[in-house]
Symmetry: C2
Subunit: 509 residues, 2 copies
């Protein structure tokens, strides 16, 4: 029977077809009329949204990357290094995926492979894929909107083993990365134009972007750079006081632990005080814990989940904890997988969240399976364990040593100070920018740190994100760079040479 016109027409490039494409007339038609859609007639909240991680710098980096393909590009570098985003597996960084994760995923895509390629897949991988297939069926089918029940049960088990407290699979939502969940929860908590959410400064700009889109007010509180970007209860109380004066009703508190962009880790006593603060001010605690497995000095700076603290204190504070497969050692950003767990949420609110996610049908199955592989890695004694151990240890070690040597070398530069992050994937150095540099930036119509970052990109091909994208104190300047680039010497060498030339040109103070 018929495969349908679309496929017939789409099936292959017929010379005749393309010859018949009426380009000029169609193009004329577009230019010969006034557009019927214009910015001033669109949702005004869209214009307020800012997301520097993929902003001006990132867009320019793409343009330069294309330019490099030209034979005589005339650029002073031969590759663009995207240090603007925590994207471990991107070209040029090439952090290898965990083999176990990909073997399971490949079998789920084409289950017959287990028989067609006998012996190619480890025994435990074949068993895992078989178990998942029995629970899920085809990865091409919609799952439960909250995510595959079996995978949510496994996530609950992972949380119970991590924290030693119970976890309810029905209060876990698998998501397309942590961002989707954060946006949904912020949207839910903004109940009026006066609603606000406490966000750390510096912050990951997803939070201000989501607040702008959902018409909520950011309530900034400042992290203490002098004390390794620590979180102070007083600074949050101050922010709450100021919010009250502005007529803003605080609904939630965002904590990013380990920190982004700071890489800082909270100690348990601070976490307990934060939970008590939420209890006192009736705040929902939004715990962004996506870097919980990126720990460079776990002995001195371990990770403790807020779920554990809330459970230990038997606190009634509503908590949402976000996790992701994009970071950690998994680095599976492209799969779009993650989850959030709701604690102390009444059933009707959980049902409301279910209804909202059901409109989007379900999170991607490739991401859901990625979550399962992350929280159920091979066990000692299983065929895949040794390779998994070797791969994950190597990634942890490389990140830890890179972070340390990069911060050391950045600290050695004139006018640069950098906290040696104990966690996450980033460094957030502070740079002194002289009056001369600030004047030049003003003349160019840029923020001083954006002006610095643009010059860095133009001269070295290294793309970082200026501190103004994350927030910083008045008159301070920073940038965020990732610690993912394999060739530290070459990478930091370029940064050093650029900075020294900059200081020569603009002076230190």
């Amino acid at each position: 029977m018929n495969p349908g016109p679309a496929l017939i027409r789409g099936s292959c490039l017929q010379p005749g077809v393309l010859a018949s494409i009426k380009r000029p007339s169609a193009l004329r038609s577009i230019s010969s009329h006034m557009p019927q859609i214009s910015m001033d007639a669109l949702n005004p909240t869209f214009e307020k949204v800012q997301y520097a991680v993929r902003g001006e710098l990132a867009i320019k980096a793409e343009v330069l990357r294309d330019k490099l393909k030209e034979p005589n590009h005339g650029l002073p570098f031969n590759k663009v290094i995207s240090s603007n985003i925590g994207n471990p597996q991107q070209k040029g960084l090439d952090q290898p995926p965990i083999t176990f994760t990909r073997q399971v995923a490949a079998l789920m895509e084409w289950p017959e492979l287990a028989n067609l390629a006998p012996g190619v897949f480890p025994k435990d991988v074949v068993e895992r894929a078989k178990e998942l297939s029995e629970e899920i069926g085809s990865v091409g089918a919609y799952s439960h909107s909250q995510g595959v029940p079996f995978i949510r049960k496994n996530v609950a088990k992972f949380i119970e083993e991590r924290d030693g407290y119970p976890s309810d699979p029905n209060h876990i939502f698998l998501t397309g990365g942590a961002s989707a969940g954060v946006s949904l929860l912020i949207n839910m908590l903004i109940s009026s134009p006066h609603s606000g959410i406490l966000i750390p400064i510096p912050q990951y700009p997803l939070y201000t972007a989501s607040l702008a889109q959902h018409q909520g007010r950011p309530i900034p509180y400042y992290l203490d750079e002098a004390n390794g970007w620590s979180t102070s209860i007083d600074s949050i109380e101050e922010a709450l006081e100021k919010a009250r004066e502005d007529g803003t009703v605080a609904r939630g508190l965002v904590i990013i632990n380990p920190g982004n962009p700071t890489g800082a880790l909270l100690d348990e006593s601070t976490q307990e005080k934060l939970v008590q603060l939420c209890e006192k001010h009736n705040l929902v605690l939004l715990a962004d814990e996506v870097y919980q497995n990126n720990l460079h000095r776990p002995e001195s700076h371990p990770f403790t989940s807020f779920k554990k603290i809330v459970s230990k204190l038997e606190s009634p504070v509503p908590l949402v904890s976000f996790h992701s497969i994009s970071k950690g050692v998994s680095g599976e950003c492209g799969r779009r997988g993650g989850y959030f767990e709701c604690t102390n949420f009444p059933e009707d609110v959980v049902a409301l969240l279910y209804k909202m996610v059901s409109v989007a049908l379900c999170p991607p199955l490739s991401g859901q399976i990625g979550v399962d592989s992350m929280i159920r890695p091979p066990k000692p004694g299983q065929e895949s364990y040794e390779l998994w151990k070797k791969e994950t240890d190597t990634i942890h070690a490389a990140l830890a040593s890179r972070t340390q040597s990069m911060s050391k070398r950045l600290n050695a530069l004139p006018g640069v100070s950098c906290v040696d992050s104990p966690g996450a994937l980033y460094l957030y150095p502070q740079i002194k920018l002289s009056e001369k540099a600030r004047e030049a930036a003003k003349a160019a119509g840029k923020e001083p740190d954006a002006f610095y970052a643009l010059a860095l990109l133009d001269q070295t091909g290294i793309c970082v994100v200026p501190g103004s994208g994350f927030g910083q104190k008045e008159g301070e300047w920073h940038y965020r760079l990732t610690c993912l680039c394999p060739g530290v010497d070459e990478y930091v060498g370029k940064l050093e040479r650029f900075h020294l030339q900059w200081v020569e040109k603009y002076g230190e103070e």
Copy 2:
């Protein structure tokens, strides 16, 4: 080095750990406090959102499915048939995935497979995966927020071949299914509380749900059931007139072609009139064309894209056309893949859309690759072509014959009339419900059609969606069912027996 506490703790189930889980105390803590988050303090728009496709019926179906696992479940059926949602590959329906699509996906997950399992993959699959890998790199990396440029170029080529008019890859956005794009565009067009969007009745509830969430007003216009669910310009003009009286500013027109739930197809002259109507009233045309490849009688009811009509008329009407890999013969719902193309959009609006999608980072790579496989299927002469042709022809043929025989048998039932859909995956029969039945529904606190659908589920295990979830004229009742169930005789046989018993119990008029 260290794999990080989370993975150490998560790596396997230690008996000691679970033994130490403090269930009772933690549970007591949750019950012993008043919740600090309650419905009345949440975003009021969330409560207005309705999505019947995964509503009361679907939730009850899940409960029954679990009950069937019990040895003495006492239910009058032994399986639940989910006809509420177009999910071809779900368990029990088991429409097979297209082998080519899955082979490419498996190789992208674990590229070494090509060498480890020589001869297992067809030559063209290996070449396709190699080509995609060179363009994309790892599927575990974020892509461009708009989607992989190479895949967007291929989509543009597919559109040009389909329509014979130019398509710009920079105005194409790959998405996590069509729904994500629809929600974004509706959010963008709602610029004030007075903004409204014209939606067909019956409609796919994604539209009313997105309007409720983004605080826009639905402007309903009715499709003409007596004329095979055709779209009438007059009914839209009437709706616009009424909207003006209500102080609603119409910003866009939603057209679903082929129709959902109706399966109707528009003829080109109606499409031209609709474009002219958008031009006259300055409306953005939102064309939901996700069923463009589900055509049961393409000779009499072909599909023509609105892109082709707008281009042919050289119209300045801003058009967004949505497509998806979830439907058609691909049926890859779980991958979450699709795209939308913007026509007659100025660059600053396209840049605004880019900024918004960049906050969510990128669509799932598994979905993006699924889009590429759908719009670049094997060509005649390639190793995979024959199997691809056989698989797609079989699916098209089965859908066409099932739809026809089901509508025929439904029409033969007393008080049931059903348009024989020429497209999509559904039938939307109208059912007469007697006063006695309506009284019984009222007593049960249900809409009459929901009452009918609940009884159908309770007695047969067949889950359909009542017409009240899609919209219908006052005093008319319908339900939507999919034409995906393989065993038509068993499936429709159950529907017939149920309906005849219903008529016996409640009477026909």
